[in-house]
């Protein structure tokens, strides 16, 4: 059997030739992404702003305008209605009511009983109600968790490699998260707790490639002490390219299937991780590696660190 080789043997692409251009483009994309997210905001789900949502499953297709006018007539407040994947599943979202906590859930109950009366056979599949207090906490905890994960991983990389690698990892992660956020801001896909879970996963998985490439760079820095840094990075990237492509593909295949035919409820999670892995593959080549040149990693960097280890007893850092 002839085996599939997506990356031919002895591939030798000059990745680093485009490093400055790629870095500038990435920088621009990151800045635009962050700016767009700040300016337009994210479509935050009730997990983060509070409010109420019911998910309704109809027995036959329902027109969104028809549903909107009927819900408006119930007098439950300003409702925003969104189709979920098809014209028989809708999400009706209502703002968090002002006033006492107890009233907050009454609206969901009202919809729960009113909708099947107007549309016989319709079923309220899920109802959620999140108070302002809880949503604030969830938003805060999510931000802390993502920041902590990024820092934790950067510190680990620093500890296992050198400080330049830790900085590189952190910048790579910042880029990946910023781009994914930008995507969510642009597409208006709803950001809920699942999407934050996806962000945390991206932090772990987008760094997968980076770690593998860094590991090879470290190995080559020790092996070829006379080689200039740019050819050495190119060599490392080419040596790991086949693995990068194959692994990214398997993850993307699995997630793509989940995204296309999996449950609609976790579409946001699936697409976020899918995108994160895709962006992570790019950034591990064009951000993680060039940052090392930028931070002044030289072929003798590791030589020095080896010697430092030997002299650690006499010369505390």
């Amino acid at each position: 059997m002839k085996l599939l080789k997506l990356v031919p043997d002895h591939t030798n692409l000059d990745f680093m030739r485009w490093r400055n251009l790629a870095l500038v483009l990435s920088l621009i994309a990151t800045v635009v992404s962050i700016g767009y997210t700040i300016y337009h905001g994210l479509n935050l789900g009730i997990d983060f702003v509070g409010g109420q949502v019911v998910r309704v499953e109809f027995t036959q297709p329902v027109h969104i305008e028809d549903l909107r006018s009927r819900v408006d007539r119930l007098g439950v407040g300003e409702a925003s209605i969104q189709a979920l994947g098809n014209d028989r599943t809708y999400q009706v979202r209502l703002p968090r009511p002002q006033g006492p906590e107890a009233a907050s859930n009454a609206v969901v109950s009202k919809l729960r009983s009113a909708i099947p009366q107007v549309y016989p056979g319709a079923r309220v599949d899920a109802g959620e109600s999140v108070s302002g207090k809880v949503s604030e906490e969830l938003a805060q905890n999510s931000a802390i968790a993502v920041a902590l994960a990024m820092l934790g991983i950067a510190v680990y990389i620093w500890f296992r490699f050198e400080w330049q690698f830790g900085v590189g990892a952190l910048l790579t992660l910042g880029h990946d998260i910023a781009m994914t956020l930008g995507f969510f801001a642009f597409t208006r896909l709803q950001v809920d707790l699942n999407v934050v879970a996806a962000f945390l996963t991206i932090v772990g998985y987008s760094l997968n490639d980076t770690v593998v490439i860094y590991d090879r760079i470290r190995e080559n820095l020790r092996k070829y002490r006379k080689m200039a840094i740019l050819p050495l990075l190119n060599l490392s990237l080419n040596e790991t390219l086949a693995r990068t492509v194959v692994t990214s593909l398997t993850v993307l295949i699995a997630l793509g299937i989940l995204m296309l035919i999996g449950p609609q409820v976790i579409f946001g999670l699936a697409i976020a991780i899918f995108l994160g892995v895709l962006i992570g593959t790019y950034s591990s080549i064009y951000i993680s590696a060039p940052v090392l040149v930028w931070l002044g990693v030289q072929p003798d960097s590791f030589l020095k660190s080896d010697e430092k280890e030997d002299e650690a007893a006499t010369q505390p850092a």
Binding site: E101, D125, G127, V130, K133, G152, A254, G262
Partner: protein
């Protein structure tokens, strides 16, 4: 490389067999085969999260002001009782204004004795040595009891534990349902009830404090004053539950719901729903004495500071049984009976988060999730096969074993599978082969460099392991943070990722290494097709 001792082979085989064995009950659960699983084999099962099983999730938070209020009231009653004991101390009105209790001692000679007795009422707190109430004398005759900070914290903690038990009894009086009621973060209670799709009934049961009190009606009060909300000294104005005005009652509690042993919904002579209650011995004695002393006078039945009804005492009630009438429906009488029987909530609970999922949506999620999982497993298997041939087959065997191990470990720890957990499973499937990709690519590389077969395989496994280890540590860091910060479904996702990281290193590195070693030893290949 070739040296793979027999005991290691057996050990790895044993671990895998165990994983498969543990995962089967979860896989066949709900199918026609679930009954045919032998009883002597492990029965551990993965539990399904509410987003898959359907049900209601409620997060309740204690109303801190109410907790303080209830604590002050309880203390006030305690003090009033203590002061009546011999030697009796005559005091003015007990005030609970400003979050503390204060009263005037009429006889200045008794001030020191009063302070002494008040101090005895306060409890020392275990760790700090502070007491739960601070007793002081102001203006030489006014005794002031202020709750200490530590005491308030402790009281809230105790109240939450009681509240948790009360909530559990109210939702599940028979104690047979699989419900979750746990305290969280000091002032919250998490309630998860599978199968319940409309949480309104739940919330009604939980929303009522159910503090029942019997107090005498103050007939001396001027009706005009009562309507204006003013009551004579020693009395208070309370609204009627049905909204028909207000009534003045004595502050002193005749009997309270704490002294109930049972409460049941029944009907009165006219067929209207009411509630039959039964007092314990002390409560029955007190109720008998008070009714004997007050025949012909009305008393108020008060629930959560609202007067349900104010019937006349026609004759002394001696047996310790009483009926509570009011404008009830059968359902509301039943709910109140359950609430009374389960005890009062020591603190009012507000619903601050509510999530419900229908069983149909959960079933649909499982269905689609399983199909997506199966297809991704097959897609990855085919991809690995065409890319690495024989080594791909090994990776694929490892992949399938890995899937069983994840399920087996989850079952062993009775972990909860949530919908994001299914996504975590699929992600793990996609990422688990990464270790094999790293190893196989490295072997290809070493062969290109001209290493001999066994040497190349050995170097491949050895050199790839460093990167595999580091990459998996990064996964563990992010998943652990997710497990710590996340709640419910998200935590389920993190748990699958964490288990998947550990099992995938085992299957992708050690297990495939064994398969490769056994093959090389048996077939003694001269060239590698990789």
């Amino acid at each position: 490389m070739l040296e793979f001792p027999r005991w290691k082979v057996w050990l790895i085989g044993l671990v895998i067999a165990l994983g498969v064995l543990l995962s089967i009950p979860s896989l066949i659960a709900g199918t026609q085969y679930s009954g045919s699983w032998p009883k002597w084999l492990p029965q551990y099962k993965i539990s399904l999260g509410l987003d898959l099983a359907g049900g209601s999730h409620l997060l309740l938070e204690a109303d801190a002001n109410d907790a303080l209020k209830q604590r002050l009231q309880a203390k006030e009653d305690e003090i009033a009782t203590e002061l009546r004991h011999d030697p009796r101390i005559d005091v003015g009105d007990i005030s609970t204004a400003g979050g503390r209790i204060s009263f005037m001692v009429r006889n200045p000679a008794q001030v020191d004795a009063t302070v002494e007795r008040m101090r005895k009422l306060s409890q020392p707190l275990a760790l700090t040595g502070n007491r739960d109430w601070d007793v002081q004398v102001v203006d030489s005759t006014r005794v002031v009891l202020t709750p200490t900070r530590d005491g308030t914290v402790r009281a809230l903690k105790d109240a939450m534990n009681v509240a948790r038990d009360v909530v559990r009894r109210r939702i599940d009086p028979s104690g047979t349902k699989e419900i979750t009621v746990i305290t969280e973060g000091g002032n919250r209670i998490l309630v998860e009830v599978p199968g319940v799709e409309d949480p309104e009934a739940l919330k009604k049961l939980i929303g009522q404090t159910a503090r029942l009190e019997f107090k005498l009606v103050d007939l001396s009060a001027n009706p005009a004053d009562v309507q204006a909300g003013r009551a004579p000294a020693g009395s208070q104005v309370l609204p009627m539950a049905d909204g028909s005005g207000a009534i003045a009652v004595k502050r002193r509690v005749m009997v309270s719901g704490d002294q109930l042993t049972d409460a049941q919904q029944s009907f009165d002579q006219d067929g209207r729903p009411d509630i039959n209650i039964k007092f314990n011995t002390a409560g029955a004695r007190r109720f008998a004495r008070t009714t004997q002393e007050n025949v012909g006078k009305p008393f108020a039945i008060i629930l959560d500071d609202k007067v349900l009804s104010a019937p006349n005492i026609n004759e002394p009630i001696l047996g310790g049984n009483a009926q509570i009438s009011g404008s009830f429906t059968v359902q509301s009488a039943h709910d109140l009976a359950v609430s009374l029987a389960s005890g009062k909530l020591p603190v009012k609970l507000n619903v601050i988060e509510e999530r419900t999922v229908s069983a149909e949506l959960g079933q649909d999620s499982i269905h689609k999730g399983v199909i997506a999982s199966v297809i991704s497993v097959f897609a990855v298997i085919i991809f690995m096969l065409v890319t690495y041939g024989r080594f791909g087959v090994y990776a694929n065997i490892a992949l399938v074993v890995n899937a069983f191990l994840i399920l087996g470990i989850m079952a062993m720890f009775n972990a909860t599978l949530t919908l994001p957990g299914i996504a975590g499973f699929i992600l793990t499937i996609g990422a688990a082969v990464d270790a094999n990709v790293l190893i196989n690519e490295r072997i290809r590389e070493e062969i290109r460099r001209g290493r001999r077969l066994i040497d190349a395989v050995e170097t491949g496994y050895h050199e790839a392991f460093r990167a595999i280890f580091d990459a998996n540590v990064t996964h563990v860091i992010s998943a652990a943070i997710m497990a710590y910060f996340g709640s419910g479904p998200v935590r389920g996702f993190a748990v699958v990722l964490l288990i998947g990281v550990v099992t995938s290193v085992f299957t992708a590195v050690y297990f495939t290494r064994m398969l490769v070693a056994l093959w090389i030893r048996r077939a003694r290949p001269r060239a590698l097709h990789i």
